[in-house]
Amino acid sequence: MSSDLSSHGEVAIPDASGAGDPIPDPGLPPHEPRLTDVDEQAAKRAERQVATLFGLAALLIIAFVVAYLVVPRHAAFLGFGASNLALGSTLGLALLFIGVGAVQWARRLMDDHEIVEERHSSSSSEQDRAEAIAVVRQGADESGIGRRTLIRRTLIGAVATLGIAPIILLADLGPLPGNKSAHTIWRRGTRIANDVTFKLLRPEDLELGQLVNAVPLTLEDLPEGKERNNARAKASVILVRMEENQIRALPNRKNWGVGGILCYSKVCTHVGCPVNLYERVTRHVLCPCHQSTFDLADNGRVVFGPAARSLPQLPIMVDADGYLVAQSDFTEPVGPSYWERG
């Protein structure tokens, strides 16, 4: 650290640049006057220009007020929302004109002689430092914090303990996870219903190449809002129908489908987007968020993209009334992975 003090008691900056080597600094170039500095006419013109911009801005604000009062909320103009267009363009142009006027004033009419300001080092002088240290020492000595170790230690202990309070206060932010993530509302015999319309599904309703976005019928029994939304976020499924001979089911999944109809979780195993971009010819389903691709003919195996796990399959059957129902809940947790998932 340099310690040479300038006359003001501030530290001068040691030269940190290669300036002047090998070519000496020729110094600031002389000021070149602008047209507006030497030509009174040009200056007058510039003044009028700036004043015109400010005047236009005022008119545009008046137009803004008129547009606010006159243009109906839902009117269209050239296929655009008229109100938004009118309000935005008048306000935007008014602001723009004020800004351009001010800048133009500075550029063309204000004095444009460059000013040189000296810099001082960011650090304090040695003397200031010494004084600062002395002041702190004095304060510490007067408090006795150095000598009275019992006070110091208990104070540190108390403040550290205090930190627990806000953390414990946050504990009611949410319930503990438990094993909620591992289950959905699907149960043995839960009927499968078309999403939105809640129409029940029979196997014969599904044609070859069909995709159905479905939910458990019991979703309707849940109160609207949080409970139904949470259940839907896990229990949504897709049903697809393909030729039975195209299905390469795992040995334990041979009876998980009904006549070529298979049911999979609609929640991507990557970060949980709904997957239902179903390509009927390849029988792949693609997630539009991160493009994980699952082969539905092959137990929902991942064939591309960042998802690590197969799409969980819901075993289905037909109940006594001929409707498609679940054989059980999913046999594994649906949706994104998590630490305790195993």
Partner: protein, 305 residues
């Protein structure tokens, strides 16, 4: 059930070979009916005198084309199927087989129904021309009558979905709530591929879900019904005709809605919005910073004191 996904080079030559002959056929079949159509157009726009003249000239043809009795209807249908069979033999059989039984180049068309033909040919996807991940829509090469004939022929081969009627496509009587329900159905069943605004989207390996904004209600309905190319089927038993009508109603409502906030930027969402941020926003502001930091016009050669 698959349309042309396997069709590659031979399909291409087939299409080329077929076209000249197809056109001659088209003129013959179409001349009569198109005359009637033009007569109808005059009827609408030019008043009674023109109608009288037109009817006088084409009255016989009109009677043939719009049969009033069942017998003549059957006869007309048989003629149409026969015309369709001829067109099929010329333009489609090289890939789909002479009896539409399918070949290595194209799937069987038995049982696909009139709706599938009306969609595939009516959007120009068939006859296919170039091999690729997906067969794109092109300029339609057949007249409406030829498409009707082809559809009738394929429909006669086996039961399948028929072309939706005008009533099925009529969305004018839908209430706001029904249109909103159509929106829910659209977002649940369609938006993941076709985008929430129907602007289309990418599938795997270069395939894509097309933009729906230019699609006619009839073709949208038929696509749901038949599942062209990679698109899955949305059968009438699951997505009922009424549901389909609501979905189409929602899409029509989106089209008539003004773009409330200004240019829609392609309706593609954050990607184009991000581009606009950088190009329009940051771009223009950086240009402005250059202007702000520039000095007023200098007087050359004049030096200050």
């Amino acid at each position: 059930m698959r349309f042309g996904v396997r069709g590659r080079s031979r399909l291409n030559t087939g299409g080329d070979r077929g076209r000249p002959r197809l056109n001659t056929g088209g003129i013959r079949v179409g001349s009569r009916i198109s005359a009637v159509l033009s007569a109808r157009r005059r009827h609408r726009f030019a008043g009674a005198v023109v109608v009288m003249i037109a009817l006088g000239a084409f009255g016989g043809a009109y009677a043939l084309a719009s049969p009033s009795s069942k017998a003549s209807a059957d006869a007309a249908q048989a003629t149409q199927i026969e015309e369709g069979r001829k067109l099929f033999a010329v333009s489609c059989s090289s890939c789909h087989g002479l009896n539409a039984q399918g070949t290595n180049e194209g799937p069987t068309l038995i049982g696909v129904g009139a709706a599938a033909v009306d969609f595939q040919v009516g959007t120009g996807r068939m006859p296919a021309q170039q091999p690729g991940a997906q067969i794109p829509p092109k300029k339609v090469v057949f007249s409406d009558e030829e498409i009707a004939a082809l559809s009738a022929y394929v429909a006669s081969l086996g039961p399948g979905p028929s072309v939706p009627s005008k009533e099925q496509l009529n969305t004018s009587d839908l209430t706001d709530a029904e249109i909103a329900e159509g929106g829910e159905l659209f977002r649940t069943n369609c938006a993941s591929c076709h985008n929430v605004a129907g602007k289309g989207g990418a599938l795997t390996w270069g395939k894509y879900a097309p933009n729906l904004t230019g699609s006619s209600p009839r073709h949208i309905y038929e696509a749901m019904l038949t599942g062209p190319q990679q698109m899955p089927v949305f059968s009438e038993a699951v997505i009922t005709p009424d549901d389909k009508r609501k979905i189409i109603g929602y899409l029509e409502a989106l089209k008539t809605e003004p773009s409330r906030g200004g240019f829609g930027l392609g309706g593609l969402g954050p990607v184009t919005e991000g581009l606009a941020t950088w190009i329009v926003g940051i771009g223009s502001l950086v240009i402005i910073t250059v202007w702000i930091a520039s000095r007023g016009q200098k007087v050359k050669g004049v030096k200050g004191k």
